[in-house]
């Protein structure tokens, strides 16, 4: 636990020293959703219908950027090998890094999302629910994404392969996240979707670090 805290502090320090890297995903999210809102016919009815889906697709693409470099720099500068030799078990290392990355890159995205929801004329309840679904969803996406990041570590066309690997895995999170927001939007209830989203989040936070750790061992051979 102590060691995980040391690692967590270092990851946070790295994010704070180079905020541009962490915030690029947020800027991408902001720009992408704005382009959507601008390109769609400005009829409130249409915007409201398309809004939840558009916001969620953009958040999903932004979280691909969040996980892309998760292990890359550690692998390149030899830190990963030293982490393998650390008494901290590798799944705990992965979980710590993924959590720090989520806090640094995905949480800002979650926090600005209600503002971006305004562009789509979302109702008050949908605007309130949006950051909660995105928080759960991006946490799941970052942890599932860590498997992909570990698998494509050191490959030349890694980022292309990463999107091909991860986007299909992201579909369940996308469906239930967007459905929950749409449900709140048209008042048809969202509890079931939110529960499934939370379950997906818990499952990936629990199991993904073990899979990523196995992939990292392979990458270090």
């Amino acid at each position: 636990m102590d060691l995980a805290l040391v690692l967590f502090k270092r990851e946070c320090a790295l994010v704070l020293r180079k905020p541009g890297d962490a915030l690029s995903a947020v800027f991408f999210f902001v720009l992408c959703t704005t382009l959507f809102a601008l390109s769609i016919n400005p009829e409130p009815q249409l915007l409201r219908a398309l809004g939840p889906g558009a916001l969620w697709v953009c958040a999903l693409l932004a979280s691909l950027m969040v996980v892309g470099e998760l292990f890359e720099s550690d692998w390149r500068d030899g830190t990963l090998e030293q982490l393998l030799l650390s008494p901290l078990p590798l799944p705990a290392t992965v979980a710590t890094k993924a959590l720090a990355r989520w806090l640094g890159s995905a949480l800002p995205l979650v926090l600005v999302s209600p503002l971006l929801g305004l562009q789509f004329e979302l109702s008050g309840s949908a605007l309130l629910l949006l950051p909660f679904t995105l928080a759960l969803g991006t946490l799941a996406l970052v942890f599932v994404g860590s498997i992909g990041a570990a698998l494509t570590l050191g490959l030349r066309s890694g980022s292309m392969l990463l999107s091909l690997l991860l986007l299909p895995l992201y579909i369940p999170v996308l469906i239930f996240g967007a459905l929950a927001v749409a449900g709140a939007q048209n008042g048809s209830g969202f509890e079931a979707e939110l529960s499934i989203l939370a379950a997906l989040c818990l499952l990936s936070v629990f199991f993904a670090p073990f899979a990523s750790a196995a992939c990292l061992e392979l990458a270090c051979e």
């Binding site: 270092r10 720099s73 500068d77 030899g78 090998e81 030293q82 393998l84 650390s86």
Partner: protein, 203 residues
Amino acid sequence: MFETLDLGCCKGRRTLFSGLGFSLAAGEVLHLSGSNGCGKTSLLRQIAGFAPLQSGQLRWQGQTVDARSLSWRARLAWCTHQPALKDELSVGENIRTSLRLAGVEADDEAIQAALAQWQVAAQWPLAARLLSQGQRRRLALATLSLLSRPLWLLDEPFNALDDAACRQLWQAIHQHAAAGGRVLFTHHAAVAGVRVLALEDFA
């Protein structure tokens, strides 16, 4: 006693070495020699448990060890040409974090003393990206000497080091051996006064 029995390594269809066995008693230093591409680094990576053993086994004090277990890895200090420094952090932050992640609680005075031995103490507040290659290596080796792990695995440790740092490394290796540690290092050139294991003998 640390022993390797019948280790082998194949890359594709080529056998780099096979039937490799040696033993390393406490306080011994072993130089792995051989030409480029003969499998020196592969052997070290197998012993460190990064690459799986393709054959044979590792034994520590007579017991077979699982090279991928945490208990085995906790005995190793590993040093390659990658010094595992974060460019954004200062030298002090880097070395403090590295030590703590390795499970070592060292106070700043001990760290400063080790850095002074390696002549990088003045760089303490600097960001690691400002260091030269040689200084990075010195920093990695200073960290190594603070780890207090019984088996050192060093891959070409003399690269990018100047004469003074090479002498310092020899001193560190001998100090570690004198304290009952074991050192296994690769080096392309011949070294006087150290037991040699030529990998070509097992090709």
